[in-house]
């Protein structure tokens, strides 16, 4: 059945839905708490954080997530990270699950954390974050595995804290999603919304290349300042050897990125501060590429993105596994289109592009 908008408040069974959105902070905070959680029922949480650095220049500002505000030394981690060309790993005890980090005032950091919250075993979290973003410079990309060794207590809150005062600067935003599970409410058959569905990831664009290869594809009619967050899923089929990039508003200037890559047994990294788009895949020969890119697109600050890539795949050979953080150094213009671009005929038949919007 077709519906228009499905408005707030609504809870939809068996999907992911926003529990709470801090909005862009209008004053700096040291701590933000998501409370009244029921981790044993909710099972999983996803936290998205866009942090604007604050609290003093050259101050290490770790942003930690702590279940039930447990500040004892009950956390462990394993990181992989890359700063410029220097890739490294680090492990050990932590005072929380780190989701973001800033160093100087005004720097941006974007992180996404997936939490398995049910008690009975240690609680784990998988995190990606990109940090040290200013202008077209992306300082570091990282992935972390975390554990909290409390097996007994239900998670009833998630405390997000900066370890310097007022470290969650003006403009910072925290968004928590949970897996919805309800046992009452209206039973409905197929629901075909014609408008927005409150609080969920909603696919707003779906395109498969057919007939002949494309050199680019543009998703238009966007309202980035209202939408705030997009996720782009790209399964590329090679039409010609090419790198593939995202261009916001089809602007081919002022991008930067930091990449960490594994190519067979070679680990490498790179930082580029002047490029023409947010790189999200590529291939040679007749190969494939798969990527997922989280973008914070609201104006007011540089636009930042976090990508995971399966790059240049044929048969059972994957050329690269990559993590990427990218920035578009335009703070003013609303994003109204996203162009996926590369060389001539780079988007081969079978290429598939999906854009998802988190309805806030």
């Amino acid at each position: 059945m077709e519906y228009g908008n499905i408005d707030s408040p609504v809870i939809i069974d068996n999907t992911w839905q926003v529990v709470e959105d801090s909005g862009e902070l209008s004053s700096a905070l040291t701590t933000y708490t998501f409370s009244n959680l029921t981790g044993d029922t909710d099972v999983e949480y996803k936290l998205i954080a866009r942090i604007v650095g604050n609290g003093g220049a050259t101050a290490n500002n770790h942003i930690y997530v702590r279940p039930n505000n447990d500040v004892t030394a009950t956390y462990g981690r394993q990181d992989i990270q890359c700063v410029a060309t220097s890739a490294s790993a680090v492990s050990g005890a932590q005072p929380g699950w780190r989701i973001c980090y800033t160093y100087n005032n005004g720097e941006l950091s974007l992180g996404e954390m997936n939490i398995y919250a049910v008690s009975g075993n240690e609680r784990t979290a998988l995190t990606y974050h990109v940090q040290g973003i200013t202008g077209t410079t992306v300082n570091k990309i990282a992935q972390s595995g975390y554990v909290w060794n409390n097996t007994a207590d239900e998670i009833t809150s998630l405390n997000v804290s900066a370890d310097i005062a007022s470290g969650l600067g003006i403009g910072s935003r925290l968004i928590l999603l949970k897996r919805t599970k309800i046992t009452s409410g209206i039973k409905a058959g197929s629901i075909e919304p014609q408008g927005n569905i409150s609080g969920v990831w909603q696919k707003i664009h779906d395109y498969t290349v057919s007939g002949s290869s494309d050199s680019s594809h543009t998703i238009s009619g966007l309202t980035g300042d209202t939408d705030v967050i997009y996720k782009l899923i790209f399964r590329g089929v090679n039409g010609s050897t090419s790198d593939i990039s995202i261009r916001l508003n089809n602007d081919a200037t002022t991008y930067g990125f930091q990449v960490l890559a594994g190519n067979n047994t070679t680990v490498s990294g790179a930082r580029i501060t002047s490029t023409t788009g947010m790189y999200m895949g590529g291939y040679t020969n007749t190969n494939k590429s798969l990527s997922e890119t989280l973008m914070y697109v609201k104006s007011g600050y540089e636009r930042v993105a976090l990508s995971k890539l399966n790059y240049d795949t044929t048969g059972t050979t994957i050329q690269d596994a990559q993590l990427r953080g990218a920035v578009y150094d335009n703070t003013a213009d609303e994003i109204t289109s996203i162009a996926i671009v590369g060389g001539a005929s780079c988007l081969g038949i079978g290429t598939h592009i999906e854009l998802w919007r988190l309805n806030l």
Partner: protein, 182 residues
């Protein structure tokens, strides 16, 4: 339009929908199958694996589309373990690998998330992120990885989560599969 609570019995177009979830209770299992899938229609799946080792020794947990256990999978990973960062490629794996370090003892944990482009016609590609062999405050490794299944023809009708050891998917393990509703 306002609803309050909605329990879609078929799905809401253009959203993610839980296909099935299971939490292992009672006794450990070796295999769990997400069946009756229509990969060519659904196109994209997401899976969450929280694996608690139910075997008294080292055991891995992996995923096989259509229960294909042939050497038809590729894997390229980055791995951080302690202060060591490495990468490697395998071209004849027998499964989608969830984490580098298998759980080495009863009760140890692995946790992974996979996004799978499932539609036939081309080699199937996946991105997996996992942490391996975790206990107490120690996470043995973390690994982002690109993977492939070189079958281009068969529609994915099942995703089998399996362990190499009897009872390797222990009590407390949680498996969840999401699909894109089209």
């Amino acid at each position: 339009m306002r609803f309050g609570e909605i329990r879609p019995q078929i799905g809401i177009t253009d959203t993610w929908e839980l296909v099935e979830e299971t939490t292992v209770t009672g006794s450990a299992i070796t295999t769990f199958t997400f069946s009756n899938l229509t990969g060519d229609t659904d196109e994209v799946y997401r899976m969450v694996v929280f694996g608690v080792n139910g075997y008294s020794g080292t055991a891995w947990i992996a995923i096989r589309p259509n229960n294909d256990s042939g050497s038809n999978y590729g894997d390229q990973y980055l791995r951080g373990a302690g202060a060591s960062i490495t990468s490697a490629r395998a071209t004849s794996e027998t499964r989608f690998v969830m984490a580098n370090s298998s759980a080495t003892a009863l009760g140890n944990i692995i946790n992974a998330e996979m996004i799978l482009y499932a539609k036939s016609g081309y080699v199937r590609t996946a991105i997996i992120s996992g942490l391996g062999n975790t206990t107490g405050t120690t996470v043995s490794d973390v690994s982002p990885r690109g993977q492939s299944w070189n079958n281009t023809g068969d529609e994915i009708t099942s995703l089998v989560v399996t362990s190499n050891q009897t009872g390797g998917i222990g009590v407390g393990s949680y498996l969840a599969l999401y699909r894109k509703v089209v």
